[in-house]
Symmetry: none
Subunit: 212 residues, 4 copies
DNA sequence: TATGAATGAGAATTCATTCAT
DNA sequence: CATGAATGAATTCTCATTCAT
């Protein structure tokens, strides 16, 4: 112990973030209503009362969790689509790989689950999720597709649907991971799925002979 | 109280189904923990106590909702894959159309949302959902893909991943509908998405010229 | 089956008594508040609604149980004290034997337990119990003692206390039976206790040498 | 609300005992099932929720009441039998006096009533009562009797029955007090009963002439 | 009479929120 | 700032009582 430099002082600024981290875990596990502030406080290593020094209500804490957790990942979401100049043939696998990485390393899947569960109870959050995450990510993808269509590299069709054709299976894989693997379902190798799927999306399932 | 209108009638046989229907609505809207039995009873047109004539606890009611709602759709899930003899080129759009129909007309999406939300609190239900619905549907698709691969109509690759490549975007569309449309997101035309996507999955996004 | 003589007809008059019998069991086991009319009805072999054809409320049924159960034993209580002409030395063992018999064969102990438990909630019943059972039985005993004192056979002293000296241990034995034996206490042989005790009460515990 | 009077104070240490005291009163009055936690909380001067800070369930509170109430009296129970060296002729009245004192000043009678009432619903408590109170007290008395028999001061016979011969009437008197006096029965002077009875138990009811 | 489905007031229990320390 | 005892509104669950059949 260094006198005059108590160790806990250092934590002061970190408290809110620690609480949000703990809250994310508990909310993701139990859902908003079933999560108990007692548990969150315990997991954050603070007293129940301390939560109220940083967040006015349980609801505000929940909203902070969604917003704060999503925030640092937004840059990554945007970064998914750089090197737009590459031919779609090369660009698409890169996008897929980055998306797979993002989905396996960030907390986005946990938040997604929470948003799916509570969209009716917290429409504001669903809106944030839509505007800041889904719309943005889909927008980037859609833009890439549109550009490729303009260059004649991608077949015509609603570019938003095309974007869903690319991203959909990976998102399914993420939900599989969150929901079904914990109860015993056979695990899915997300990067492998991403790679096989993007190739399928590019050239199709059919063999040349089967195309008619 | 309207005189001449009995406070209640004997509905022993119909009651459980009515209650389950009402409960599905409320659980899907609010989630398990936030759903109030008062609301369920009111929506079912019975008293709170009547719920307990048919279901021992709130939890048991919730489980009954998931099981009973999923049950009648299981046949439809299996029916999705008939006419297995058709060439994959013709079969795939039919499967997609049927899947899109199932997802837009059944209660499966609502149940899916509930299962996603409560998988940690009710692992048994997640298991039921996996075994009875997801595994079964994916199994049918995977089987179809495998057969087509054996006939040389579909490119090699993990048939389970191929199945996810086909079904994933439609499931995303369903979640979009359940979660984001109610808070103002631009609606998705699910059958149109299904049609465009299945074509994409069959022949790929790339134009002939862009293939290298 | 004798046509025209349906078997159940015979039961009509017996119903109230059957219900009271069933109710006595359940009330004695669970206590008034914890006893469920469902259980009583089931044990009586009737529907719950049928109880209300004979008794207006749960409380009234409880009161009927106490009154009706006590009633047929009252004669027996009085009979305990006949042959008042015998010398106390011979009379007392007879009284004790009769009392022991009454306490081991009647439902009085079960009712006693109920009255003890619910005296605050049902003061009327405690009063009935006091007036019809305790007072009467004690009165008979007290009278016998008084007469014997008048004849110089019994030492002076409050005859009511003397009566308690005689009856007390037997009543304790009954409670022991009701309360402690069911949870594993060593059983008490009530008639044996009665016999040894009455002798003790007559001649005392001390040996002649120990008297001083 | 009186301004300046805090709604509550920290009483962590004192609270459990205060609650148990209040609970004893209410349970003794109403019985376990009919006692309302609202009433207990009000009588303890705390909120309903506060009960749950110290006791997990109503049942646990009830058990704590029985255990905690009995505990401080156990020493007194053992103390009843000291001076074992005295001749039984002198010892017995002392024991009786002490027993009478214990029964009139402790909460044992109230607990006894509760145990009698709930022995079927809470067999564990009946067992505690038997092992810690009844068995112990009766054991002490039985030991004293046995010793006196060995010294030739007390007539032969089952010493446990002899112990009941001594204690029974006093216990009856206690129940009389608890159950019948509140509904108007003529009060019993317990110490007087104890004194007269112990003399009776020592030398018997019969006058010398009436002994045959 | 008899049934048992239905009711609804009541009670135990939980937990977000407050606030004396 | 931090704590955690205390609160009390809200919710699940029970069960005596009613009443259509």
């Amino acid at each position: 112990m260094t006198p005059g430099q108590p160790r806990w002082r250092r934590r002061k600024d970190a408290r809110p973030a620690e609480i949000v981290t703990a809250a994310l875990e508990v909310f993701a596990e139990r859902g908003f209503a079933a999560a108990r502030l007692d548990d969150i406080a315990a997991r954050a290593g603070v007293s129940k009362g301390a939560l109220y020094l940083y967040f006015e209500t349980k609801q505000e804490l929940f909203e902070a969790v969604v917003r704060d957790t999503v925030l640092p990942d937004l840059d990554a979401v945007e970064q998914v689509a750089t090197n737009l100049e590459l031919p779609f043939r090369q660009l698409a696998p890169m996008l897929a790989a980055r998306l797979a990485l993002l989905l396996t390393t960030s907390s986005l899947p946990a938040v997604a689950k929470m948003v799916i569960a509570e969209s009716r109870n917290f429409p504001d959050l669903a809106r944030v999720w839509h505007d800041q995450v889904v719309s943005r990510a889909l927008g980037v993808l859609t833009g890439v597709v549109k550009a490729a269509q303009a260059r004649g590299e991608v077949r015509p069709g609603d570019p938003r649907f095309h974007a869903l054709s690319i991203a959909g299976p990976m998102l399914m894989g993420v939900l599989w991971r969150e929901v079904l693997e914990p109860v015993g379902a056979e695990p899915i190798d997300l990067p492998a799925l991403a790679m096989q799927h993007v190739e399928t999306a590019l050239v199709g399932l059919l063999t040349p002979e089967a195309r008619a």
